[in-house]
């Protein structure tokens, strides 16, 4: 599996650390309530198909949102995070 780093280009999956679904980019407001915070912290889908998740390119220090398919293992692309 190869993942595109916005800084370094396509790299082997061994160079990355997985962080989970992009849910972590959508932090609820402080007063959003217990249910929203419970979802944010603990509840994840387990999709068979397209998903978007967060990967860290250890060698250069870039965070990447990766669009991939859990069924075909195809990696459609990646966007760098600020």
């Amino acid at each position: 599996m190869r993942i595109p780093c916005p800084c370094c280009g396509w790299r082997d999956r061994r160079e990355f650390t997985y962080y989970g679904h992009e849910t972590f980019l959508h932090r609820p407001a402080p007063d959003a309530g217990a249910e929203a915070w419970d979802d944010y912290l603990h509840n994840r889908e387990n999709p068979a198909g397209p998903t978007r998740d967060l990967w860290y390119h250890d060698p250069c220090g870039s965070w990447v949102v990766v669009a991939r398919d859990t069924v075909t293992h195809a990696v459609a692309g990646g966007e760098g995070l600020a």
Binding site: C8, D12, E15, P59, C60, G61
Partner: protein, 185 residues
């Protein structure tokens, strides 16, 4: 006044590791890290860093780039990070970047020989053939499980830099790969 009973001795990151090593036509030698300043520009200050580095004839490098002038080198080392080797940081640079002296934290080796690409192919998950990794190119990657700063120094030579704490493992892994590559003839 200094205590005369205490003597501190400077040692290199590759001392005591049995270098140089030779297997087949490949040779692994220690390359002492005399000075290494990590430059991490403050947000939006890359251009200002380049202006300060112009005093050394250098600029802040783009990803994968290394530059040298007047005996000093600057080498890309990660997202908005670079190492300045073999020179003190120029005046004014500290206003625009966080500077840390990391010379003691890294160990550097030179792997030279026509089989060097084949040796590193066993340890580095990248295409290091000259067509995709030409002379002067810099990458951050992995040497086995170890963090790696790799520079193609010549058509048949690679400069290998890793954490000093892992220097023994690096020499062990490189030696094993050199031996196995040489055994294939």
């Amino acid at each position: 006044m200094a205590d005369p009973s205490v003597t501190l001795t400077v040692t290199g990151g590759a001392d005591g590791l049995g270098l140089p090593l030779r297997h087949g036509d490949c040779r692994l030698t220690a390359q002492p890290v005399a000075t290494a300043s990590l430059i991490a520009p403050y947000p939006g200050r890359v251009a200002a860093c380049s202006a300060a580095l112009a005093a050394l004839g250098l600029a802040f490098p783009a990803p994968g780039q290394g530059l040298s002038a007047q005996g000093a080198r600057i080498v890309w080392a990660g997202r908005e990070q670079a190492f300045l080797f073999d020179a003190a940081p120029p005046d004014g640079l500290a206003e625009h970047a966080s500077l840390t002296d990391q010379a003691d934290g890294w160990a550097r080796f030179l792997l030279q020989g026509t089989g060097a690409e084949a040796v590193l192919a066993r340890l580095v998950p990248l295409d290091l053939r000259a067509g995709s990794f030409p002379q002067g190119r810099v990458v951050r990657s992995l040497l086995g499980h170890m963090p790696l700063l790799l520079i193609r120094a010549a058509s048949d030579a690679f400069e290998i830099t890793t954490y000093r704490s892992m220097a023994g493992s690096a020499v062990h892994e490189l030696g094993r790969a050199m031996r196995a590559t040489a055994a294939r003839g």
